[in-house]
Symmetry: none
Subunit: 206 residues, 4 copies
């Protein structure tokens, strides 16, 4: 009987709802207790669904995580795309551009904070997660690369590919620091100083 073990793609409203409930429950539990400390029956129970039902929508625990990761990625993707599109405008206030990126990224990082940390925790031991997160990274880097290519007159960097990487890592590190770390000084000061570092590096007056 081929297909009998197949994972169902819910089409009916009630089914979709159930799947959503499972994902929400899993998300909450992964954030609260971490992936390894969360059991599948526990997810099912929180979702008010039977264990068996859970396994008819997902092959295993890992798949649930991956689906959540996918959704998280999507939201990031949307943001990234938005900033990609902004680059098409003929005139860009880069100071404004970077600050806006910063602030919005910090917001979304805070929103997904615990799930993000869980993703980081699994990154090392899970090739699939690695692949997804790396893809994300490369996408943003590419945007930065394009940005620098189209404004070579403004940004004075010698090695443009390396610069895209360096820029990406700087920004990412600052965002993480503000969003995830219990900082001793006010966050705004770190944001300001981080932006200043970016401006100086790109040789934009600050």
């Amino acid at each position: 009987m081929p297909g009998s073990n197949a994972i169902r793609m819910p089409r009916q409203k009630r089914s979709i709802e159930k799947k959503e409930r499972i994902l929400s429950a899993a998300y909450a539990l992964f954030c609260e207790k971490g992936y390894y400390r969360t059991s599948t029956p526990e997810i099912a129970e929180r979702a008010q669904v039977s264990t068996g039902c859970l396994y008819s929508y997902f092959t295993d625990k890992h798949m649930i995580f991956m689906e959540l990761l996918g959704r998280c990625q999507q939201e990031f993707g949307t943001l990234t795309n938005m900033f990609q599109k902004k680059l098409q405008h003929s005139f860009i206030d880069f100071q404004e551009y970077f600050r806006s990126y910063f602030v919005q990224m910090i917001d979304i990082h805070i929103k997904y904070k615990n799930f993000f940390l869980e993703m980081t925790a699994l990154y090392h031991s899970d090739a699939e997660i690695q692949f997804h997160l790396d893809q994300n990274k490369e996408q943003i880097q590419d945007t930065l690369l394009r940005l620098m290519r189209q404004s070579t007159d403004l940004f004075h960097v010698h090695d443009i590919e390396a610069a895209a990487i360096v820029l990406y890592e700087m920004i990412d590190a600052f965002i993480d620091r503000v969003a995830f770390y219990e900082n001793k000084i006010d966050q705004e000061r770190i944001i300001k100083e981080g932006l200043r570092a970016v401006y100086r590096y790109l040789d934009i007056a600050d």
Copy 2:
């Protein structure tokens, strides 16, 4: 209840060897498969030691990890101290200073690559690990803070505390990128560009 539950402190050569064997085996397995996927009997087997023996040197799996972390920290501490001491010299070539720090840090990060990633993975869910790694972070930041304070004439930053954080995060991010990531371009180019970002930020001619 003291006594028989006490952990053995090996004094004889053979015992020390055994403890070392356990730590090596655990280190290898944690790196290969991650902490959660590694079981204590597995560690014992790889170390060619009985389970019971393992439990006479360590209270539990966590303690083994913490001991490895301690050793790793020590090596980092030595390096950090070295760079702290260098600051006492009346004249410092900062370009040389940062490059040297970079390169040596990258080396040690590569050496401990997988274990480092595992540490990061557990950081989120383990307060003790968090404490240790955070302490490390703060120590290096303090060094940077001191460095900037003693050379205010050289480095032109407004908010010196924020700058120390920003500088730390930049450097750390670049190191991680070079040491841990499968980069598409040559690592030397990233190092150079990373240093350039630092120099520009600190307003040292490059």
Copy 3:
């Protein structure tokens, strides 16, 4: 952490049967080998049930024991209550009353003999068991106390509270002796003599 760790309350016939099977198996093994010498997988195996299944009905071995103890208590409670109610009759033949109590108690003690001994064995080291058995003891003593209070004209004792205790201990000791000990003389002789001791103590003609 509520939920998935919760203990299953069997409602369906098959489930109830399974729980019963586990309890029977545990009862048999505790009687045969004692609590400490009986392992949970052993109970599961004898019950023809998986270890996991056992742990879905009971949090641990101790809970299994306590449930058995509860059932045992209940049966004793029923008997005790019966004798408590008999006291409400206006006229009681105390010789008959005590003999009947004796004989029925001996029967129930013999029925639960090994389990009883195991309970005694654990009494010392388990506060919960202690509490339950002590409660039982006090209940019976109270009955005896009431009995003596309502018949002060019949029973000539000075210190009525102490007398209730002494009477309880006598009866209990005789019951245990007959039910649990490999006696060299006929049990009926011990019963008779024990009752005689009770009658004489209470100053009822024998």
Copy 4:
């Protein structure tokens, strides 16, 4: 090599001391934590002796317990013998005799309280312990039997063998109650009332 596994009978002072230390340590631990919760390495450590050394004096944990039981028995034996001898006096004040027996037995029971309870706990599952304790019981019963036989004029009982048993169980129960139970009323009242029960049973004026 026959005898090489044999258990050593210590003759030298230092050896005897060591064995004593082991027994003391074991006694303390059995009383504190119970037999099953006490481990042999723990005993050895408390005795300031190596595990191996412990096993050269005792074949196993059980043997240690049995030796302690033996010593405990001896002390009880001494007391029992004393009371046996008292019976040889031509004139005995039985009221005094029983009270004295009571009080001294209670003292020794309190002294060995925890060990006694531990013995009771193991009685059920250990034939050897059973044998020893039963032997004790029978010995005291025999004394009582002799006592009753030699004073048939004083004590008016019909079935003298049954009476010895009944008397023994009464006394034993009262002693246990006073020595081991957290009584709500003053102990002296229980002792008095217990003795009164004995006197009335034996038809000695009280």
